[in-house]
Amino acid sequence: MLKKKTALAAEDEQEPEKELDMKATRRAGKLQPPDRPLTIAEWRKLKESVGNLPRFDIKMICALFSSGSELGIAKSLLTFVAVETGTLSYELLLRYLTLCVHGGHDAEVFDVYGIMRGRFSTLDTGASSLFIKSFSRTARWREAVNILHEMKVVTPSPRNYGDVIAAAMLHGDMMTAWALYDELIENGLSPQQDTWETLFKGVKRTTEVEADNISHSEYEERLRGILSGMRNNQIYPQYNLVSSIKSWFESLPGQKWTGNWTSATPKGLCRCCGSELESIQLTADEYQEIKDRVMTDIIQGRDVFNKTTPEELEHFKEFVKRRPSFDVVVDGLNVANANKDKSKQSATLLAVVSELERQGLTVLVLGRKHMLRPSKSWERHNMNLIQLKAHCFFTDNISEDDPFLLYATLQSGNHCRFVSRDLMRDHKACLPDGATRRLFFKWQRGHQLVVDGQVAAGRMVRFQSVPSYDTIVQTSGDSWHIPYDNTEDRTTYEVPQQWLCLIRGSNSTQ
């Protein structure tokens, strides 16, 4: 890889000495940027002192950028290059532009814009993004809209849209902001949370000041639309966003919303207002859909041979049909493997199965055929006991057992749960679209039992509690419950624990 890169880098220069020089400086480390604007002669001297580096200008301006130097130094460098070569390369201007934008020198950006427009017929995506970012902060934000429309070869990033939308909001142009927001959604992009935040914040400010050509009710409608979008896409707002949502609700005139930070009880009640949160149980339609999708997309997939064989699948279907419906399905290998001690694997599985049987549940244990061969981990006695206490099905050693687990659980009806530590992410990924994946995740949260802690002999087997409520943005008309993130490191299989509870005042008379 290194070789390739040097091959590329070596393209510019022809003489080997130069190449050596460059390597030497590379070894010596980065260029040391000067601490004040230099004159042309001084620049020339500096350039000679580092051995007339190729691409000296670019390297120097990068060094200036990373050391956060004064803009004046960069300007003097540009002057030096302009006098020396009679022109400035696009790349150098682009780097200079980056320096200006990050330093917040918007007036300078206008000059650079004029020059680059005059010199080059088109701008690349990087330059366009920088101009958009900078222009959006100023009174010339409308030009940013034009730049945005120009760069349509590649779909602009949500960040680009966000910058312009923020500018439009700032300057009170609701129409443009919402039009751009719609365009963003149409392009299939998901807006950044900052963008939503500005939308919520901006509305508050401008409704007080002026009555725009969009009515209040339409704003409200739009913003509620964003909230239901969050619900449909299972998006959880960050703290910043959720607090601007809270203040927006509270600022609504004549509706008297009050917001509170809260959490939910295990029973699924809001600790603040005591109202019941949505249940995690699927509706009959949803259940039917997830059942069909799992069958077609996860178990059969593109090739039924990938995970099993048709004969085995038929055999298993027949098996499930003959038995009574199960209350709980156990992923035998997964449960057994929770115990690091290989010799206690079958004992662990037996303990879990016994506990479930004690609760009076009909249990199915799924395993692989090799578990039936007596060995140190799979003691014959334990395996026999397990087969007495539960229904058992053993798949071929080369088949996957998870799809069977899902099938058996889903076939047994909505009450049936499964025991496994598996996060099922690879199976979730087999599903074709986001909506079905979210449905699967919801079903998984409501039906998965995970053994809590270590299973030791003589101790009760405990399971982690299954939440009874769904963690999702929800409303009942007079109240909103919004779960939000207050940590950065929530993983995809976790859901937030914090809620914002919004209630409309009881004496609200519109």
């Binding site: 390739k4 091959a7 590329l8 070596a10 393209e11 601490d35 004040r36 604007p37 004159t39 042309i40 002669a41 001084e42 670019i58 004064e70 803009l71 004046g72 130094i73 300007k75 003097s76 540009l78 002057t79 290059v81 302009a82 006098v83 009679g86 022109t87 400035l88 390369s89 696009y90 790349e91 682009l94 020198h105 007036a107 300078e108 000059d111 004029g114 020059i115 005059g118 010199r119 080059f120 017929s121 088109t122 701008l123 690349d124 995506t125 990087g126 330059a127 070869v153 590649v154 779909t155 990033s157 090739d303 041979f305 990938n306 995970k307 064989t309 050693n397 080369i398």
Partner: protein
Amino acid sequence: MFRLFTQRSLHELYRCRQFVSSRVTKKQLVTFHRTVCRHRTFTPVLARPFSSGSPLRTDVLQPKGDKSAEEESVDLDKWKSVMRSKAVPEETQQVNIDEEASDDDDGDLTEPEGDLKGRSLLEATRDLVVMWQQAGKLVPHEMSDEELVELSKLTTKSSRKKFLKYLALKEGIKRARKEKQQRKKAEREAILEQKKQEGGNVELKNTFLLQYWNRSLDKLLAWRSAQAMLFNQPLVFDMSYDSSMSKRELENTVAQLMEVEAWNRRATEPFHLHFCNLETGGAYEKELVKRYSAETWDKLFITSTDRQHVDVFPRERLVYLTADSPNILHNFDHSKVYIIGSLVDRSIQSGLSLANAKRLKLATARLPLDQFLHWEIGAKNLTLDQMIRILLTVKETGKWEEALKFVPKRKHDGFLEKRNQRDVFVQNRVRGVANNRPAKDSDRLLKTGQRNAERTFKNVDQSLYRLHNEPRSHSRDSTAGLFSDRDRKPAGTTVRVSLKSKMVAKKQAGKGKMWWGDE
């Protein structure tokens, strides 16, 4: 390359002219600059104390009474005036650049009615590439129309960047190689020239040995491959995976297959290669023909067929080699036909070849990697060229220790020591000294037989022995293979079994001795 250079230099020339003309037209400005320049070159000593003390706040232009400070600020923004003064001519220049960039697009330009939408998209993509190049991104200098179309089909910015980076790296490697070739050529010519000048004695060498030409080797290897096609063990490559690969993965597969063919051709005892399920006119065949050229592809000593392997060979002889198989290939069986799925999966698609084997109800096996190697990281699937080298070696020597040396070193940390076999441990130590030769007494017997074999072999066909550019020990192994083959007993099993039980090995060795005694 040359064309590029000339274009570039022309371009430079043009730019210079433009610059001069601009200087002429904007005489006033230029003279102004010049005065400033001259001024600056003379005044730095004066100006420095002022500027070093207070670094300038550049955005806010503070009016300063001091004359030299004012000059400093004028100086700082001078690049703007330089650029602005050149703005107009540079614009025409820009058009010029674009025209140059879209040189190979001229054919399209003359077309009166193209699909405008598609063309404008292509144009825009080309602009994008040009601008990214100017912005210093890793982008190829030249792109074919085919590549451009492929690029314009990509939807996201990151995928475009990745594709362009790939092309740029490819271009860089190609250029570096060409340059190296040219440099070497020049060096060679220089040496030749020098010799000529030193004295005209560039006469042909006089040796008692015949000159051995490359084409003679080619011919010999070709004969061997032809022989292999008639008599040797078949090895099947299953080419049915083209639908589960991307274009680039397919290209990689074909590159690996070419290596496979090359290694096989050079082997002492090649396999008879079969490319089964090779759809005529399919993506695989197109790529193979493209890489080999139609002529070479037709001449190649391999069997390619669009039939399935199960139709070509009896089912019970087939064994599908796949990393996902539950069965371990302990012994290489010379009577079986092994199948390798020719698939490159950059994003691992586990169970794909196993699914195929299951569908056809074929026997499956995986290499004994865990039995011999201390596995560290990485998936246990291997590239096709690694597979063929492993199989060729195990076929010749019958030793997995030898064969599994072709497993990439990054994936494992050395070979496993054999447990609970003290004598084998000793053997290993001895082997380390004695150049990988088995040192067990039973094997020692074999070895003497081998030596004899080698000697007689040399006598029989000296030229063949001379061909071997492999190390000596290797050729010894190969002759051992030959010798046991004659014995109607595969070499692989011979040695493996000998490790297991001395009795059998002794019997083998005895047989060998008897055979040589007969001879």
